[in-house]
């Protein structure tokens, strides 16, 4: 099932389907017209779908990268001796924050930051940092005492212990947190078009407000495929990380 880099055939097939759909959409006037005879312009043309996918992905990638940086750092801090006192506070903020509806976070960012792409990016990054922080703490806490003792016995410095033992062993759980964050971000970025960000939600929102079901279908199909593809990429990544962490320790790790 797996190929080079651990990317499965299913993932390749999904990627191919997405590229094909995005490239084919501008040429689908006739079939879309047949599907939606009452709609005058059945294919969204305000922006090309290539542009929408690129803008959507840029928003998701930038916010998720920032969230990963913040979340993993917060998680590392909370699991060090110097930061242990803050662990309950950080955990509480992560848990309470995730209770907030993502759309509500997006909406309340408007009075603070205004309309458009950059405020969407900040809102997405803040929200996404929460599950990543939580999972980094969970992952680093799950590293067995034995593994750490063994590394210490070998004379590992604290930094090497973290980089070569703890983080690789915690990677599957951290990746799971990043995956949750990215999937939420793809969905929230779609709604970001209601506050003026250019995303795959733009055709959906415009289609809904102008009663053009064709636009809704196009935007929804592309963004759904994109989300499923990225989820599969993470699935492959988690598998790879688990295999890798499995080689570092003999005892099996139960991963949530």
């Amino acid at each position: 099932m797996t190929r080079a880099l651990g990317i499965s055939r299913l993932t390749f097939a999904l990627a191919f389907a997405l590229v094909a759909l995005v490239l084919a959409l501008p040429h689908l006037q006739a079939p879309m017209h047949w599907l939606f005879p009452e709609v005058e312009r059945p294919v969204y043309e305000r922006a090309s779908f290539v542009e929408l996918v690129a803008s959507h992905l840029a928003l998701v990638l930038a916010s998720s990268a920032a969230a990963t940086l913040v979340g993993v750092s917060a998680g590392i801090f909370a699991t060090r001796q110097s930061g242990a006192e803050f662990a309950p506070l950080i955990n509480a903020i992560a848990a309470i924050g995730q209770t907030f509806p993502p759309v509500a976070v997006l909406a309340i960012s408007v009075p603070l930051l205004g309309y458009g792409g950059p405020p969407t990016l900040v809102a997405l990054a803040v929200y996404a940092a929460l599950p990543i922080t939580e999972n980094t703490i969970a992952g680093l806490t799950s590293v067995s005492r034995d593994a750490k003792d063994a590394a210490e016995g070998l004379g590992f410095s604290r930094l090497r212990l973290l980089a070569d033992v703890e983080l690789p062993l915690a990677l599957p759980i951290i990746l799971t947190g990043i995956r949750i964050a990215v999937i939420i971000n793809i969905g929230t970025a779609t709604i970001g078009s209601t506050i003026g960000a250019l995303t795959l939600g733009s055709p959906i929102i415009e289609g809904l407000s102008a009663s053009n079901p064709a636009y809704v279908l196009e935007g929804a199909a592309v963004v759904a495929l994109l989300a499923i593809l990225i989820d599969r990429l993470f699935e492959d990544g988690v598998h790879w990380a688990r295999r890798r962490s499995g080689t570092l320790t003999s005892d099996a790790h139960a991963v949530a």
Partner: protein, 383 residues
């Protein structure tokens, strides 16, 4: 000598917010952006006489030995701040609006929220250091909420822009809250009725495990607005083909596609909760029950269900909190609820209207989460 660094960080955050950020925003009407009102402008002498000693107490709490008496004093000071900051804001809003035109608006600003959050987190930190049990934590949270609700009902916050907006749209607001609750309740109940059997199926027949969770995983991955949108076409076609369905309220937009999508999203956490709950039952317990001559149904209901209940309940918690958020998005396909204020407000650049939708959903989610945590705490204690 610093003895509580968490408290020190919180005090510093609140102090910086008090000194540099607006406590309230005050605008002559809702079109112009507001003037910043600091805490020291907003609080009168009596207010400051209350806040400053509490702040000093919290600051001192970071440096003194963490005895039980000190922690109780810190808790008390944090709670007084958490209670009186909103009351001071409400009072200041009343004073500000009284001096201006009736359309003037005073709204809570970033400084207020940071100070309030710091006070709440400081109280939480003190409770944790006191090793407070679930009952004490719940009593404190309910107490604070009750005081603020009573104050709100007696008009303490009436002149804050959010309360004004709610009063202006009293009926629409009540309808939206009711519709939101309806969407969430119906979809969670349906998800319970469908998701639990799916979880049981996946646990009893390992063959089905991959299919059930694989397909539910895909659904969970699809962005909510896309799933809502994808349901419009098929449902519209269905109601065109069978006009009697339309009389039942089933059409491309509105409540029907919203509930279908909410249920689809809720199935994964629900089925996962049921599956994990049943999987947590030790095999030996089931064997013993079988040895006593119990049937499969009896084992499920009397033996496995009670053990699986807490895990199932935590699944239900995830589902309900998630549904409250997703129901906001459902407003985009005409299902109503608090999301209609959010998107109307965003579209018209009427931010108070948007907040009237967003803030209640946040409190709804926090409240439901709190209730489920209490139930979970109780369920775990009585196995």
């Amino acid at each position: 000598m610093i003895r509580n660094r968490v408290l020190l960080v919180l005090v510093l955050a609140a102090l910086v917010a008090a000194l540099t950020l607006a406590f309230l925003g005050f605008a002559p009407n809702r079109l112009v952006s507001g003037r910043a009102i600091t805490l020291f402008e907003a609080a009168n002498g009596a207010g400051l006489a209350l806040i400053v000693p509490c702040g000093v107490m919290l600051a001192a709490g970071a440096f003194l030995p963490q005895s039980r008496a000190l922690l109780l004093a810190v808790l008390a000071a944090a709670l007084v701040l958490a209670l009186f900051l909103p009351l001071i804001a409400g009072r200041a809003a009343t004073g500000l609006v009284a001096t201006a035109t009736p359309i003037a608006r005073a709204s809570l600003a970033g400084g207020f929220w940071i100070m309030e959050l710091s006070a709440v987190l400081a109280a939480g930190d003190a409770l944790r250091r006191l090793e407070a049990g679930l009952a004490m934590k719940a009593a404190v949270a309910i107490g604070v909420a009750a005081v603020l609700v009573v104050a709100g009902l007696s008009g303490a916050f009436d002149q804050l822009s959010l309360a004004k907006e709610a009063a202006n749209r009293r009926e629409a607001f009540a309808d939206a809250v009711e519709r939101h609750g309806f969407l969430v309740t119906v979809s969670v109940l349906l998800a319970l009725m469908i998701g639990v059997p799916l979880g049981i199926l996946a646990q009893r027949r390992p063959r089905w495990h991959g299919l059930v969770f694989g397909s539910l995983d895909i659904v969970q991955t699809i962005p909510s607005i896309a799933l809502f949108g994808l349901l419009i076409g098929p449902l519209a076609a269905l109601s065109d083909a069978f006009p009697q369905l339309r009389q039942l309220g089933i059409s491309g937009i509105g409540v029907a596609p919203a509930i279908i999508a909410l249920v689809l999203y809720s199935l994964l956490p629900m089925a996962r909760g049921a599956f994990a709950g049943l999987s947590s039952v030790p095999a030996s317990v089931v064997e013993t029950a079988r040895g006593m001559g119990m049937t499969g149904g009896q084992i499920l209901l009397r033996v496995e269900a009670p053990i699986a209940f807490p895990v199932l309940l935590s699944g239900l918690r995830i589902v309900t909190v998630q549904a409250i958020g997703l129901a906001v998005v459902a407003a985009l396909i005409g299902a109503g609820g608090l999301g209609s204020f959010v998107f109307l407000g965003l579209g018209q650049r009427a931010l108070d209207l948007m907040l009237l939708g967003a803030v209640p959903t946040i409190f709804m989610a926090l409240g439901v989460d709190f209730i489920f945590q209490l139930l979970l705490g109780m369920a775990r204690r009585t196995p």
